[in-house]
């Protein structure tokens, strides 16, 4: 087990290294640069800037310099926001995005799993059809549509919740709700199909023959067997969600990491692009190791090698 985790972490670091390398070179292949805008700076200024950021050196040298700093944990300084290091940007934006993302995933899980289980238990009945209808809607409607509707109804007409910013708990309600819709719907569908499969298994009949009640049969015997697909889906989703949703953060004007992620690309802010991408890769790798361990805990048949 310990050996496995060490192996996985080593492999994960390799993955992050490859991601960083690919991003570095691909980023540079894209036409344009951080200092090009409508108001082109003078040749002297440009030259000074290029020297400052080592742009005059060959790409391989720049790559070496970047990697050396990366190993030290230094993501560099933003080219657009003067004096702000990338580490600062992540340290400021990530907690905000993680709070909203984490909360919404938690809620999705807590709602999606029981609802999917219930739908499977009532398969073919009216209530199952109702649940699946709403789940399909939830998957089909994009988050910006949900956000807009929420804004119009709860902020515009009813005035219950503030429409932008993130200062009081009330501010969380709408962005978290908007972020929740898709994962909740998806998890409940996943849960239902996986549960249906498990409910037909022989050991469920054994449980019933032992005199196990309906509730315990569903939530003790069936749930643990049917939750693996949800865990598989949840791992990467969690990584993507906690680094922030560009759409939601833009709509509700939330100072999260998701906005930095996208705006850094459009403005060719190389260190920020690199920083956010490597950060996401690190997070994904870490979560995947955790998911594997959770697998092993849930299903003892799984061998970690």
């Amino acid at each position: 087990m310990t050996k496995y985790i060490i192996k996985r972490i080593a492999l994960g670091l390799l993955t992050v290294f490859i991601v960083a390398t690919l991003t570095f070179f691909l980023m540079r292949l894209v036409p344009g640069g951080p200092f090009l805008s409508e108001k082109t700076p003078s040749a002297a200024t440009l030259k000074a800037l290029e020297e400052k950021y080592h742009f005059n050196e060959p790409l391989s040298v720049q790559y070496r310099i970047y990697m050396e700093n990366l190993v030290k944990g230094d993501f560099g300084v933003s080219m657009k926001r003067k004096g702000t290091t990338v580490n600062d940007i992540i340290a400021k934006g990530f907690p905000v995005s993680a709070r909203i993302g984490g909360l919404s995933i938690l809620i999705s899980f807590c709602i999606g799993v029981p609802i999917g289980t219930y739908a499977a238990y009532k398969r073919g009945k009216f209530i199952d059809k109702i649940i699946m209808f709403f789940a399909t809607c939830g998957i089909a409607v994009p988050s910006f549509v949900v956000s807009t509707i929420l804004l119009i109804v709860f902020s515009g007409w009813l005035g219950w919740f503030p429409s932008f910013g993130l200062t009081t708990p009330l501010h969380y309600v709408m962005p978290v709700t908007a972020l929740c819709v898709y994962p909740t719907a998806y998890i409940s569908r996943l849960m239902r199909s996986s549960m249906l499969d498990v409910l037909g298994q022989d050991y469920m009949r054994t449980a019933k023959a032992k005199g196990v009640g309906q509730f315990s049969s569903l939530f003790k015997h069936a749930l643990r067997n049917s939750i693996l697909p949800v865990v598989t889906y949840l791992g990467p989703l969690l990584a993507y969600t906690v680094v922030g949703s560009f759409v939601i953060e833009k709509i509700f004007n939330i100072p999260g990491l998701g906005r930095d992620f996208i705006s850094s690309i459009t403005s060719r802010d190389y260190p920020v692009i690199m920083g956010t991408t490597v950060f996401l890769a690190l997070l994904l790798v870490a979560i995947n190791v955790v998911v594997d361990i959770v697998y092993k805990i849930i299903d003892p048949r799984i061998k970690l090698k």
Partner: protein, 339 residues
């Protein structure tokens, strides 16, 4: 020992499928005394399992009892609610399923699964901690009883760490946890290899005497029945076509289907090149059962009346009866001769 334990009278059970009503059980009557070992034999789909599941209230959706009564150990099973069933299942009647590989929950330990059964039906009212200790001790006792070595270690193991034979022993341990009055064994050895089969059957008989329970043995293996059972019910297309003691069924079969079954078993005394005689044809379509005897289309001695009318039961002794027009004819002729 002649106290009645299970009395099934004129049981009718149907599955209401989208294609129509499937009459899975058609007028089944079985009487079992305490301590009996009853074998139910028949081919796939003949209603063997459905009969025993009905006793436990395990009839799968969309199946439903549509007529008749089941009296078991003082319960009117045909009128019981799910809640009453829950109390009875595992305590008064237990079941062992066909496939031990899939019948145990893969994510819980053996100990957990045995203790669950004990804890569910415990009425001692002990505090939780003591109860768990007691259940664990009982689980170890049960594992020893079913012949599993190192029971303490096994309690912590998962089903996938055990062999098929061991798992079936664990299933038996679970079934016996509360010393049931009746054990239903639904083809318990079909999925096991032959040497293990014999061990498991032996074990079941041994435990039957120790605990003093009755057994219903569902199988399509006549060899198994001949070794274990005192009485045999032969089922075909949801009907009991012949019922009798083991000797009566094996040495004096009356129904053409029983005769066919017996002919299709290989015998050690047979000449090397002797061929087995299969029963020709296929089982009946239960959605459109024939009007007369369900076996008529496959029967070599089929008469006109067989196709038109269901034969009534003919009694040959107190325990032996069968439903066949041929035996009716014999009776008829006998009576003619007497007069």
């Amino acid at each position: 020992m002649s106290e009645t334990l299970l009395d099934i009278k004129n049981l009718r059970l149907s599955f209401f499928t989208p294609a129509g009503e499937v009459k899975a059980l058609n007028d089944i009557s079985i009487k079992m005394n305490k301590g009996d070992v009853l074998g139910i034999v028949g081919e796939s789909g003949s209603g063997k399992s459905v009969t025993s599941y009905a006793v436990m209230g395990l009839t799968a959706y969309p199946g439903r009892i549509v007529g008749g009564t089941i009296d078991f150990n003082g319960h009117k099973v045909h009128e019981m609610t799910e809640k009453e069933f829950r109390k009875m299942r595992g305590k008064e009647v237990s079941i062992i399923f066909q496939d031990p590989m899939t019948s145990l929950n893969p994510v819980y330990t053996i100990g957990n699964q045995i203790c669950e059964s004990i804890l569910l039906h415990d009425e001692s009212g002990l505090p939780k901690k003591e109860l768990k200790k007691k259940a664990k001790a009982r689980a170890i006792e049960l594992l020893t009883l079913v012949g599993i070595n190192e029971p303490e270690k096994r309690l912590k193991q998962y089903p996938h760490e055990l062999s098929g034979g061991m798992r079936q022993r664990v299933m038996i341990a679970i079934a016996l946890a509360c010393e049931p009055k009746l054990l239903i064994a639904d083809e318990p050895t079909t999925a096991l290899d032959v040497t293990i089969q014999a061990q498991i059957l032996e074990l079941m008989l041994e435990l039957k005497d120790k605990i003093g329970m009755s057994i219903i043995m569902i199988t399509h293996d006549l060899g198994v029945v001949s070794n274990m059972c005192e009485k045999i019910a032969v089922m075909y297309a949801g009907k009991i076509v012949e019922f009798g003691s083991t000797d009566e069924i094996f040495y004096n079969p009356k129904h053409e289907y029983t005769k066919g079954l017996l002919k299709s078993i290989p015998k050690l005394t047979d000449e090397e090149k002797e061929k087995l005689v299969p029963i020709e044809g296929t089982p009946v379509d239960m959605l459109n059962p024939p009007k007369g005897c369900p076996f008529a289309p496959r029967c070599k001695s089929c008469m006109k009346i067989c196709i038109e009318k269901m034969p009534p039961y003919t009694d040959f002794s107190d325990t032996h009866y069968s439903a066949c027009w041929l035996t009716q004819k014999e009776e008829f002729l006998k009576e003619e001769g007497n007069n």
